[in-house]
Amino acid sequence: MSGNDRLTQNPETGLTAVGGATWVENWFRPTVTAAMLTCLVVAFVGLVSRIMPSWHGAHYVAFAFLVSWAGIQAERLLRRRGPDYLDRFRYRAVEVVVILVLLKLMGYVTLGWDTLWADIRRWGTDATIFLDEGFVMGGVSILCLWAAAIAITKNLYLLEVHPSEIPSGPGSPNYSRLTFAPGQRIDRQAVLHDIARLYFWGGAALLVFTGLARFDIPILYRYTPPPLSGLVFNVMIYFALGLALISQAHFSILQVSWRIRHIDVSPRLGTRWAWLALSFVALIMALALILPTGYSVGLPQAIAFMTMAMMRVISFVGTWLFYLIALLLGALVNALGSREGPMASRRPPPAQLPSLLPGNQGGASTLPLLELFKSVLFWGIFLAIVGYSVYHFLRERRGLLPGLESGLLGRLIAWLHTLWQGTQSWSTRARKAISSRLSRRSDPGKPVDRWRLIRLSQLSPRQQVRYFYLSLLRRAARIGHIREPQQTPYEYGQALAECLPELASEMTTLTQAFVEARYSQRIQDEQEADAVKKVWRRVRATLTRKKHTAQGETTAQLRRDGRAGA
C-alpha cells in the first residue's frame, strides 16, 4: 500500500490528514489552542479582579474559551470556502457583533434581567451606560483573544499538507507545473517560528499578568488585598498546552516532508503523536512540580553540606569495613588463643560505630534534613543548568576561539574530556560484563563455568545426563582412572568396569545414557534423567569411598616412610 492510500481526506478542510487522524485537526488542535488562550484570560481576569474587585470576570473565562474555539472553527470553515474576501469580511463582521452582544448579555447574568430591561431603555439617551468600563475591558480582551486564535489557526492551516504541493508522477498533466513552477512551497519553518513567537509572547504577557497580580500593585489604591500564593496553575497549563500545540506544528511540518516524498506513513501516527505529546508534557510537569523552587541555605553552605555528607558516608563505610575486619581478626585470634586459655576471656569492649545521620552540631545541619536536601537539589539543578549552558556555549564556539585549545584551559578541557571518555568506556565495559554474565546465567545452552555452582534443576534432562557422566569422569580421574583422549565412552566404561567390577552395571547404564544424550536426536524426559541420577549417586558414593580409602592408604604409607626414614 502506498503512502497516498493511507492518507485520508479531511471532509471539513479539504486537506489531507496523515493516518486518518482527522480528530486531531478538527478537535484536538482547536481545543488545545482555545484552552491555551483561555489561560491567558484567567491571568488577565485575575489581575483586573485585584485592581477592580467590583468587576466580576469569572464568566469571561468560559466565554473566552467558547469564542476562541468558535473563531478557530470559523476560520477553518472560511478556508474551506475559498479566498472570497468580501464573504470573509461579512462573516467576520457578523461574528464580532454576535460576540459583543453575547458579551454584553453575559454581564447581566449576575445583575438580573430587570437591570437589563432598565438599561436598554436608557441606552438611547446615554451611550456610556452601554459602553461601561467592564464591557469595554472585556470586549477588548475577548476580541484580542479571538484574533490570536484566528492567527494561530491560519498558521496551523499553512502547516498542513496542501494537495497542490504534492508532486505527481511524470505522467500526470500538472507534473511540469508542480515541479517547475516557482513559489509552490511554503516556508513552514518560518510559520513555525511565527507560532512559537505568538506562544512566547503570550507566555510573556501571562507572566506579566501573573507577576503583577502577585506583587503589591494594588497597594497604590486605598485597600490592600491579600497576595496570591501557591501554584499558578493557569500559567503551567498555558505553557503545557502551548508545548502540545508546538508539537502538533512540528508534526505538521514533518507530515508535509513525508507526504511530498510519497513516504508511507503509519495510520496510527497522528493519534499517537497527540497522546504522546500530552503524556510527555504531563510527565515533565509532574517532574517539575516535585522539584524545589526555593532554598534555605546558600550555595556555599550547600556545597559545604554536600562535602560533609560525602565525608560522612566515606567515614561510615570505612569504619564499618574496619570493624568487620577487626571482628574477623579477633575471632581468629580467639580461636588460636583458646588453647592457651586465659587470652580467650580478654575481650575488648564493643566499638562505638558512627551514625550516618548528621548530628545537631553547628551551621547548616541545624535545619531540617528535608530542607537541606531541597536546597542541595535546587543548587544542583542550578549548577547543572549553568554548566550545561557553558558547555554548549564553548562547544558551539570552538572554532571562534582558536587560542582556547592550546592554552591551559584547553588542556584542562581536554583532560576532562579524556576523563569523561574513560569513565564512559569503563562503565560501558562494566555494563557489558554484567549483561553478558546475566545472559550466560539465563541461557542454559551456553557452556557452564567450571567454577560456578550448577543447579541441576535449571538444566535440561539432556544436559543433566551429560553432567552426570562428566562428573563421573572427574571423580574417577581423582582416583587414578583417567580417560585417555583416544578412548571412546564405551571403551572407557569397559576399562573402568574391569578396574571397579562392582560398578560394571552402573557404568554400562551411565555410558549408554551419555551416548544417547550426546549423539542422538531423541528427546529425553525428566524420568530418564532421574533414573540416571540414581545410578550416578551410587557411582559417586563408591568413587568417593574409594578416594577416601586411597587417601588413607597414602597417608599411612607416608607415615610408614617417615618412620622408616627416622
Binding site: 507577576g211 508546538i246 511540518i253 508511507d264 506513513v265 515533565i284 523552587t293 542550578f382
Partner: protein, 397 residues
C-alpha cells in the same frame, strides 16, 4: 524549538532575580523538555533492534522475493516517530529506496514489507538501512545506520537445451550415443544369436540355457561426458560494442549448458577469469567437475556473483585455458565460451586437443569473425557455434 537554551537561561535569570516560584516551574518544564527529549530519543533509537527476513536468499531470474524488515523496540521508552529508509539495488527494486514512518511504543514491533524483483542476475547486498527518529518538539533528530549485511543471489537465466550434443571420449556413461563404437556393458539392450567371432564374455548363459542355443548380449551404445566450461569474462577481449551485453549472454550460455548436463547426470566443471566479489584471493575461479544438483547450485551461484572485468591485470583467456586444464582428466570435453576469436585461441585449442581434450567453441560477440574462426576450428575438429542472441540457442533445443 531547537534553540530553547537562550529562553531557558533568560527565564532562569528572571526567576532567580524575582524569586518567583512559578517561573522556576516553567524553567524546569523547559529545561526538562530540552534535556529529556535529547536523552530519550538517543537512548530509544540506540536500543532499537532490526531484523531483515527474506523469504529466500536465492532467486531465479524474474522471481519475486518478499522481504520483511522487522523493527523492535525492546526498551521502555516510546519513540514518537521513526523514518526507516531501506536502500536497495536498482536491479532489484525501483525506486531504489523503501520508506516508512511510524511510531513505536515500548516493547512494540513494526514490520515494513516490500518485494524484490530479480530482474537481473547478480549478488546483491541489501541496505544499508537508515533509521531516523526524533522527539515531539523538534529539539533533536538522530540518525542511525542499521548494520545488517543481507544478500540476495539472483541466478542467471537458464534456457533449456534438450538437444545439446557434446563430443566425448568416454565410452561408458549414461548418455545414449549414435556412435556404435561405444557400448556400455552395464546397459544391456537385449540378446541375439551367437555369431562366430563374438567374444565369449558377451554370452548370456542363462538365456542360452533356456533357449537351448548360444545367445550373446547386446549393449546400448553410451558415452559419458565430463565437461568443463571455460568462460571468458575479460571484457578487453570483447568488442567495444559487445562488452556489456555479450558477457551476460556468455553467462546465460554457460548456465544453460551446465544445467542441461547436470540434468543428464553428467559431471560439469567451470573456470572463468571474471571477478567474484566474495573471492578471497585473486586469480581465475574454478569449480572442479562434479555431478548433482548441489553442484549445479554452486555453479549457478558463482555465475550469479561473477562480474566481467576490464582490469589490465585480468587474466587473458588463453592463459586461463592453459592454467585451468592442468588438473583435468584425459578426455574431458571443454566448452569454450568467449566473445570473439583471438590469435592465440586456435593454437591453444590445438594444444589442448593434443593433450587429450575435446573442445567445443561458442562465440557470443556480434563482431566476431565467425566464419573464419569456424573454418579454422573445424579444421582441427572443434565444433563452433555463434550465439549472439538467446534465440540462437534454439540450435540446441
Amino acid at each position: 524549538m531547537a534553540n530553547l537554551l537562550p529562553f531557558i537561561i533568560a527565564l532562569f535569570a528572571l526567576a532567580a532575580f524575582l524569586r518567583l516560584d512559578f517561573l522556576l516551574y516553567i524553567l524546569y518544564v523547559f529545561f526538562g523538555l530540552y534535556l529529556l527529549s535529547r536523552w530519550w530519543v538517543r537512548r530509544a533509537i540506540g536500543q532499537l533492534r532490526f531484523q531483515r527476513v527474506l523469504s529466500a536468499e536465492r532467486a531465479f531470474l524474474g522471481e519475486r522475493v518478499p522481504v520483511e524488515l522487522k523493527v523492535w523496540n525492546p526498551g521502555f521508552l516510546p519513540l514518537p516517530w521513526i523514518h526507516l529508509r531501506e536502500n536497495l539495488p536498482i536491479d532489484l527494486h525501483v525506486p531504489t529506496s523503501v520508506h516508512r514512518v511510524f511510531s513505536l511504543l515500548p516493547r512494540e514491533r513494526e514490520t515494513m514489507r516490500y518485494e524484490l524483483h530479480g530482474w537481473r542476475r547478480g549478488y546483491y547486498t541489501l541496505g544499508p538501512l537508515s533509521c531516523r527518529g526524533g522527539d515531539l518538539f523538534g529539539v533533536v533528530e538522530v540518525t542511525r545506520q542499521g548494520k545488517m549485511d543481507d544478500h540476495l543471489i539472483v541466478y542467471p537465466k537458464i534456457v533449456p537445451l534438450p538437444s545439446l550434443q557434446l563430443p566425448s571420449l568416454f565410452p561408458f556413461g549414461t548418455l545414449p550415443s549414435q556412435q556404435r563404437l561405444f557400448e556400455d556393458p552395464t546397459r544391456v539392450m537385449g540378446v541375439r544369436d551367437y555369431q562366430p567371432g563374438d567374444s565369449p564374455r558377451r554370452i548370456d548363459w542363462k538365456t542360452s540355457a533356456t533357449l537351448g542355443q548360444l545367445q550373446v548380449r547386446r549393449y546400448q551404445p553410451a558415452i559419458s561426458i565430463e565437461a568443463f566450461i571455460m568462460l571468458n569474462l575479460n571484457t578487453n577481449e570483447y568488442s567495444q560494442r559487445g562488452r556489456f551485453v555479450a558477457p551476460e549472454l556468455a553467462i546465460t550460455v554457460t548456465a544453460s549448458v551446465a544445467s542441461q548436463l547436470i540434468e543428464q547426470r553428467q559431471a560439469v566443471g567451470l573456470a572463468t577469469n571474471g571477478v567474484d566479489p566474495l573471492a578471497v584471493s585473486s586469480g581465475h575461479l574454478t569449480l572442479r567437475p562434479h555431478k548433482g544438483r548441489g553442484h549445479l547450485m554452486s555453479c549457478l551461484e558463482l555465475l550469479a556473483r561473477i562480474k566481467a572485468t576490464d582490469a589490465a591485470e585480468a587474466l587473458p583467456f588463453t592463459a586461463l585455458l592453459q592454467q585451468a586444464t592442468l588438473g583435468l582428466s584425459w578426455g574431458s570435453t571443454l566448452v569454450v565460451v568467449t566473445g570473439k576469436e583471438d590469435e592465440a585461441l586456435i593454437p591453444t585449442l590445438v594444444h589442448l586437443q593434443r593433450q587429450g581434450f575435446l573442445a567445443m567453441l561458442v562465440l557470443v560477440d556480434r563482431d566476431a569473425q565467425f566464419d573464419r574462426t569456424k573454418a579454422q576450428a573445424e579444421q582441427i575438429g572443434v565444433p563452433t557455434y555463434r550465439i549472439v542472441d538467446e534465440r540462437d540457442l534454439d540450435v540446441w533445443k
